[in-house]
Symmetry: none
Subunit: 213 residues, 4 copies
DNA sequence: CATGAATGAGGATTCATTCAT
DNA sequence: GATGAATGAATCCTCATTCAT
């Protein structure tokens, strides 16, 4: 999940720590707003207000409205990256994979609004920013690919790279599914139950994959 | 996947068959446009033009721009419903499930634009329309629930309803994932390969689910 | 109240009696509608519907939307003219004036909607049509001028033409006032009471006018 | 003519004195325009231009086009209120009434455009705003009721409340009549002459009212 | 004669962005 | 650095009018 080419959102303000503070305010305000009415229906005035300052000030820290969306998306990945980074025990056991999944699902649940926004508004980003977001996506997939590769029981036929890729995708997607479909999944599962059930299903499938042939 | 309370998009035109024709034109034009620039960036004038007539005429067949989005969403489900309806062989075998998945994935691949639009713009619908779309979603899930229930090998411990629900959700979500992530999945898999791999993984997991305990 | 230069509303229909019928329908429908929402807020579609036929048909009997307004205004004056024509007893007494006022007020009360419309929408007419309406107004004033002139008690100093004109205007205006201010006048007066009180006040003032000097 | 519940026209601008300034500009521009083409035919762009700024700016000071009309109506009453307030000498003589009438008629003559607009476009206001305007109307009537009550010569039978109300209405209406009918009245009377003649007629009638019984 | 589908100019309103204070 | 008033392009939607059937 290496972070490269972070796109720079231009500012006319010099004080770096102030920039950081204001951006946190912008992101916070924007997330609340975007969740409620979506990126397009939220006005810059509202974003500024929700962030706690005037439009004039908002525009001291961003160049265009789209920047706000990018800021939000970027922030999510930073968070994800940071959180997942601390997970891997490098024990190379199935337990590690289970743990990673659990943490990932937890993370998503705690940032449901952010994730929902990101996946629904991504296409409103410029090609450049969209590309950056896609890269982050791939980073998450390869994070899980790595763990899977390391934890597969050494005995038996190894999974092919493509199979590992598929499973990693599954994990990432099913995590996102919790964000998008919480409204219905919740009726039957708590996050914990959902996590366990998905994990069981996934690992079970994964382990028996080679035998099926 | 029973269809209930279809929301009526008001028209000031009386000729039913003309309405049908024009709406097909609207949907066709809108899908092309929405895919390209998203619902919000597409103007009503563009929609009309893309449909092949004037805004005036467009507004004879819809009430608001949102109606166009609803028309698109509704059309997708009608298509899905119709296509899937012809699938089930009622053989009650695993083969039936495999077949259903295959057809569903095929269907999604053939309507990728429409699906992408629907999932990204859903929140721009009115509460009422959104509810209707959600219902359709649930319809698809229960379609697969039904097939799964019927095809599980009779021997062995039966899956619980919640487990069946989870697997059905998996299928629906992984189908959608093909639409959203085709850009990356495609690099490694053709649709056929993706379908096979996913099916194998899923069935494998499902079948061994009870033994794991 | 001589009627001159009636403006012709062009028609593409030949049958005279049909034209008459359709126009009555148009006027009837329009009055109802205009009262409710005003000339500008009423659409031609609504007018047609309210008249009982399609817009296509409506436009067979008028050239523009304004024609409808003119039709309504013209109709009112025709009615007023016809009704007042039968009033004058030519007795040349104060009783005649009283009677004329009473009938005029009655007439207005029975056509309140039409009058209200006419006075509020007049300026939406073309210069030409507006001029025609103004002429009709003057016709009404001179109708009363005539009666006043004839009924003044021969003894005493005669009223000047300007004074007669003023009184005639008073009558016309107070009649209209009943239409515009019925919402408040009604709380204290029935039409009959209002008529009597106004008449008393007016005649009283008129009669004593010369003595005041 | 107590002023209650002034309806608030929402603004997104905070500087109160700027609001006041801009509103005066809006009212000024609007009156000119409305007089010329009526409320409905005047576009918001024209209003803005006539006021001296862009539509964007116009909409910083109003919410809807109707607000402009309300602003105009409200402004008229404020003017009337202020002007009439300074009139009453509280001498309780007929002279006071005469003076009040004279001032009122003068006021109307100086605001002919505004009055004409108000009476012709009132029905385009929302129920709420219309109600407010009606209230102001009543305020004017009771202003004159008060003066009449105080100035009637103490000898002789007193006028009933209903009669006073009627006379007050007369005054208000005949003032308005000068605005609506200036086009014809002017041919025979200057404002001064009209005022005198009307006053004479009215007072004459009023004074002799009781004797007539 | 009657119908109603088609048209598109026109109008109200919004909102991202700028810039003087 | 912060503010918020000003701007006007852009957008949704309406509706008078026409014309083919």
């Amino acid at each position: 999940m290496a972070q490269k080419n972070k796109i720079v959102v231009q500012t006319s303000v010099k004080d770096e720590s102030l920039i950081e503070l204001r951006r946190q305010q912008i992101i916070g305000g924007a997330v609340k707003l975007f969740k409620e009415k979506g990126f397009h229906r939220a006005t810059t005035r509202e974003i500024a207000k929700s962030a706690g300052f005037s439009i004039g000030t908002l525009y001291e820290y961003i160049r265009t409205k789209e920047d706000v969306l990018y800021l939000v998306c970027d922030h999510i990945y930073d968070e994800v990256k940071q959180q997942l980074a601390g997970i891997t025990t490098h024990s190379g056991t199935l337990g590690e994979l289970k743990h990673a999944i659990k943490q990932y699902f937890k993370l998503i649940d705690s940032m449901i609004d952010e994730f929902t926004i990101m996946y629904q508004e991504t296409k409103s980003l410029s090609k450049e920013a969209m590309h950056y977001v896609f890269e982050k996506e791939l980073g998450m997939v390869s994070f899980f690919e790595q763990i899977i590769k390391n934890c597969m029981p050494s005995g038996g036929k190894a999974l092919t790279d493509d199979e590992i890729f598929l499973v990693a995708n599954q994990i990432v997607v099913q995590g996102q599914a919790w964000a998008f479909r919480k409204w219905t999944l919740q009726k039957r599962y708590t996050l914990e139950e959902y996590t366990n059930a998905q994990t069981k299903l996934l690992l079970s499938g994964m382990i028996h994959l080679q035998e099926e042939e």
